[in-house]
Symmetry: C2
């Protein structure tokens, strides 16, 4: 069974000018991988309605089953993710009464009135399930169009993480787990190990091996990462066996396993 | 004058499983922004020939003038960036004699022979300028198709950075600079500041203001980032003036500028 393909759409100019490192994408990618999903693409674009709408559409065309957006849910004029996703899905973007209540309660507790900017955060794709934000103010949303699920989270990392934890089991039920084994070797250049890695991956198409040379080819430390995403315990054993075989082949080449 | 649009195509499964945070993208985005270019999109995909080829093509269709790839230049079987970019540009991927010489010299200095895996690193899009790698082994490439420039850098951050520094002035000559001013305010929620930010951005379309609330809306610390990419000193003055106006508006709302 192929893992469910997920795309991440991280939205915000602060990422495009390099002011912010996209740790949200790496965090989400690791979480989805652990749950047995396969992140197939991470796209970062600015707060641009047409681009967000067209990437949402294109994710469907590419065969993704889930797209997760981060960013653009707040009160400022350039927070336009909900409206843009609605456009991409050909859904109306409407005031969601439950979201509005959450926002009203929040501001009422701060003794602040509901302004148009605050009300805007309750405008969500028609049919959305509202996602409560236990840290900040802007609610998230989850909306289906046919079998395609779009989930919108805020861009503030702490808000994203807390909301993901609240809703992950419901929205992204675990489909397996990531099994992984590491082989750390000194004394063999990556290019010498390459044919062995290729043979092992081709003979075991259910797993993947990446070599991560820690500095240049001339020096000698490489971390090999043998992994698979699966719910089958036999695959876990097979990964372990392949990692051992890799280590023994590297030793034959003169490597020291560390 | 609109800044030259650049897309970053960061390649590698290690990014898609969240094993690696994409610091390369943020670093490149900041470097291009400082040089007066505009990064319009950052895409992260796996080592997949068709996807790399089609994203290269699509970047051209979207109006990018430069695409920079990172990753996939090494000796392992899944290092296929040069071949995939060639496909996207409808160019042959051929042994580049200059690249081959660099690689031969490197391995000869390590007393290692040229294997097919090592030779593969010299296969580059036809017509490429070879980029020397002072840290590692895999050379980079720069190739034009019409006015569209594709530059391929390695994914190892230290190699990427050294090679960028070596070739940036030639490949990406400075077209201006990023001018930026920060306003840090306590005591005003982001949603209260939003209408002022919107008015200032609409009145000064040559600049951008992003508000970065440092925690939840209920608390009160926001960093406002007023910036533009320009070679015009009048725009720098205008950004400074707008930052001052923003600060004075926030003070009127009860904020403390810190």
């Amino acid at each position: 069974m192929m893992p469910t393909p997920v795309e991440l759409l991280t939205i915000g100019y602060e990422l495009l000018i390099g002011k912010v490192v996209n740790t949200n994408a790496a965090w989400l990618a690791a979480e989805f991988t652990k749950r047995g999903y396969s992140v197939t693409r991470i796209t970062c674009i600015g707060d641009n309605e047409d681009e967000i709408a067209s990437e949402t559409k294109r994710a469907i065309e590419r065969g993704a089953q889930i797209i997760v957006t981060t960013g653009g849910l707040g009160p400022t004029f350039d927070d336009i993710t909900a409206r843009s996703v609605s456009k991409g899905l050909s859904l109306d973007c409407v005031i969601n009464e439950e979201a509005l209540k959450m926002i009203e309660q929040k501001y009422s507790s701060l003794n602040l009135p509901i302004t148009p900017e605050r009300k805007k955060m309750a405008e969500l794709p028609r049919g959305s399930k509202v996602l409560r934000n236990p840290v900040g103010t802007a609610p998230g949303f989850a909306v289906k169009k046919g079998d395609f699920l779009v989930v919108g989270f805020p861009g503030v990392p702490q808000e994203l993480k807390e909301m993901f934890k609240l809703y992950a089991d419901e929205l992204f039920p675990p489909k397996g787990e990531m099994v992984e084994f590491f082989v750390k070797a000194r004394g063999v250049p990556e290019s010498s190990a390459a044919p062995v890695v290729e043979r092992l991956v081709k003979a075991n198409p259910f797993l993947y091996i990446k070599s991560h040379p820690q500095s240049s080819e001339g020096s000698s430390y490489i971390e090999f990462h043998v992994y698979s995403v699966t719910s089958d315990p036999r695959i876990k054993s097979a990964c372990e066996r392949v990692a051992k075989e890799l280590a023994s082949e590297l030793i034959k080449m003169g490597a020291v396993i560390v």
